[in-house]
């Protein structure tokens, strides 16, 4: 087996590191999601930005044999307490292997990777629209908005109130939280549209930030175009290298009236909502 390398290079020259980090905590949040907290050096955490991700080498244990690394958004990074957080959903071999990591185990991580969210100076009021693991990607943005003293509204969507995660977290950061669920019907497209248009009418929406879903992409593209409000979306695609070498993670985007393939790992995972193409 290949042995992992520890920092052989000066920490300030490079943008991403492969290192083994110790598991501090790995536990379920609710029936579907788990959080993983790693003990990370400050120089690594100082490089992290909201919207970036790590490529994780999931262990080969318990009959699971994941081979490629698995991309996982940074759910939180806390240089002051040396913590790097992930929020993940168990879906296949790799995440199943992650779920059996115990406190004190090592996990080989590679990152931070990708283009982060960017908050322009004149965006005073940000709106996040998040569902499921999308929360993982958007959570650090809330912290950043708080740090930059921007107002924040978080529209959190879930199947059922039990699966609404991080709403307390957003509230602690001073965000207005609007929770919608499938179970009470409030997560429907028309209701979401109404919520967002209401925010716009109240001048509480200078930019939208969202993740993953096609439905949300289309809605925000429409609303954004109608009202001239920009936005960013974090997208997913299967990855191998995670840093732009292999070109497996491309998606098509509209740019300069043409369709171009961009790499989710390098040009993304955060893209301009107007350029993204629903799939």
């Amino acid at each position: 087996m290949l042995q992992e390398r520890q920092d052989t290079v000066a920490p300030d020259e490079f943008t991403a590191f492969q290192m083994r980090l110790e598991v501090k905590h790995n536990a379920p949040v609710n029936g579907e999601y788990r959080t993983l907290v790693l003990n990370a050096p400050k120089h690594l955490l100082d490089l992290c930005r909201p919207g970036q991700f790590f490529n994780l080498l999931c262990p080969q244990t318990g009959g699971e044999t994941p081979y490629l690394r698995r991309p996982m958004s940074i759910y939180g990074f806390y240089p002051e307490r040396n913590e790097l957080h992930f929020l993940y959903k168990v879906t296949g071999a790799g995440t199943r292997a992650l779920s059996v990591l115990r406190d004190g185990d090592d996990l080989d991580v590679f990152g931070p990777l990708g283009t982060p969210f960017s908050i322009e100076d004149h965006w005073r009021h940000l709106v996040l629209v998040a569902r499921g693991v999308g929360l993982a990607t958007l959570a650090p943005l809330a912290l950043e908005a708080n740090r930059l003293d921007r107002k924040l509204t978080a529209v959190c969507s879930a199947r059922h109130p039990d699966f609404l995660m991080s709403t307390d977290y957003f509230r602690q950061l001073g965000a207005e939280v609007i929770a919608v669920t499938d179970s009470d019907g409030s997560s429907g497209l028309e209701n979401l549209r109404a919520i967002l248009e209401n925010l716009i009418a109240r001048r509480k929406a200078d930019a939208f930030f969202t993740c993953g879903s096609n439905r949300m992409l289309r809605l925000l593209q429409q609303i954004g175009e109608t009202h001239g409000i920009p936005g960013q979306i974090a997208l997913e695609q299967q990855m191998a290298c995670g840093i732009g070498m292999c070109q497996c993670c491309v998606r098509p985007f509209r740019r300069d009236h043409a369709v171009v393939n961009l790499r989710v790992c390098l040009e993304g995972p955060v893209f301009d909502i107007a350029e993204a193409i629903a799939w």
Binding site: Q18, L57, C241, I243, C246
Partner: protein, 314 residues
């Protein structure tokens, strides 16, 4: 101090470890100092712009990986304007990988990339030849010989011919590449494979089939490296499933003068450094002064190759 330097057809490499085409790019400079590598090898380019294949472009299979990227290319002009200048900042020799659908296109590109800052050209003759029904140039000795003759006339740089494992006549192809003017052989590219998701009943790759790389390829590519080193007299660069220093040693013992590391870099981005350090430590421990002493040192009792292949009697 151990001497790690290697000579590939007149090109001196400070060590025998370099990346495999398509598994390396400028982006890795953000992870470690690329000057430490024996050479830099770029992703295969074509003359014109190519989009590449539909996604998914990679998947896992049995502890290895399949890919069908499809050689997306920004074309030769963009490559010469942006990529070649980036690598000029390094002393490490730059090897440019090229491919073409026809002999003419291939030769034209070969000439076009023979510029200052390029130390050698890796000619990816494992790619399909549209004039031959889409069969790769390197699956037959005759087409290998012909394309290598065309290409070697088109450039005065050393040409490294990259062979394919999708071939029943590897020693003959190796000899044909040498006779056609190849200065070194890169052995080998990926082997054509497939995987199906039984739930969705769809191929796991958007393009149906793809190339197998990683650990599963190693015993196959190692055999090819050995066959090529014995069949041809030009240097062989081993490639396929290398992920440890032991793998490098095995390839060099089989006859390779240097190696390329591909998929391992995806799994461990710093794999090439770990391998290099492991190689050096092993040579020190074994009291071997130069890595060149390993080349072809396998004790094979000079068994006849053809007889051995026959005796396998599959």
């Amino acid at each position: 101090m151990v001497d790690l330097s290697i000579d590939i057809a007149g090109l001196r490499l400070k060590n025998p470890v370099m990346p495999a085409s398509g598994t390396f790019s400028e982006d890795l400079a953000g992870v470690f100092d690329l000057e430490r590598l024996g050479a830099h090898v770029t992703k295969t380019i074509t003359r014109g712009v190519r989009e590449g294949n539909p996604t998914p472009r990679v998947c896992e299979a049995g502890g290895s990986m399949l890919n069908s990227i499809g050689i997306p290319s920004k074309g030769a002009t963009a490559f010469l304007e942006k990529v070649v200048p980036f690598y000029r900042q390094y002393e490490t020799p730059l090897v440019v990988s090229i491919s073409g659908n026809t002999a003419d296109e291939f030769a034209a590109l070969c000439e076009q990339v023979s510029v200052d800052g390029v130390a050698a050209i890796e000619v990816n003759i494992s790619c399909p030849n549209v004039e031959e029904d889409g069969k790769a140039f390197a699956i037959r000795p005759s087409s290998t010989y012909e394309i290598m003759q065309r290409l070697s006339a088109a450039s005065s740089l050393p040409l490294w011919a990259k062979l394919t494992p999708n071939c029943g006549e590897v020693p003959d192809v190796a000899k044909a590449a040498e006779d056609g003017g190849a200065d070194a052989l890169v052995v080998s590219n990926t082997i054509l494979s497939m995987a199906i998701d039984i739930q969705s009943r769809r191929p796991k790759l958007g393009n149906l089939m793809g190339g197998l790389s990683g650990p599963c390829l190693k015993p196959i590519a190692l055999r090819m490296a050995y066959q090529c080193a014995r069949a041809a007299s030009i240097p062989v660069i081993g490639c396929g499933g290398i992920s440890t220093a032991e793998d490098v040693i095995e390839y060099m013992m089989a006859g390779a003068s240097a190696v390329q590391v591909g998929t391992a870099t995806f799994i461990h981005p710093t794999a090439m450094l770990t391998i290099l350090e492991g190689l050096e430590a092993w040579l020190v421990a074994e009291n071997i002064a130069s890595v060149r002493d390993l080349i072809g040192c396998v004790i094979d009792g000079e068994q006849d190759l053809a007889t051995s292949a026959m005796a396998v009697a599959q």
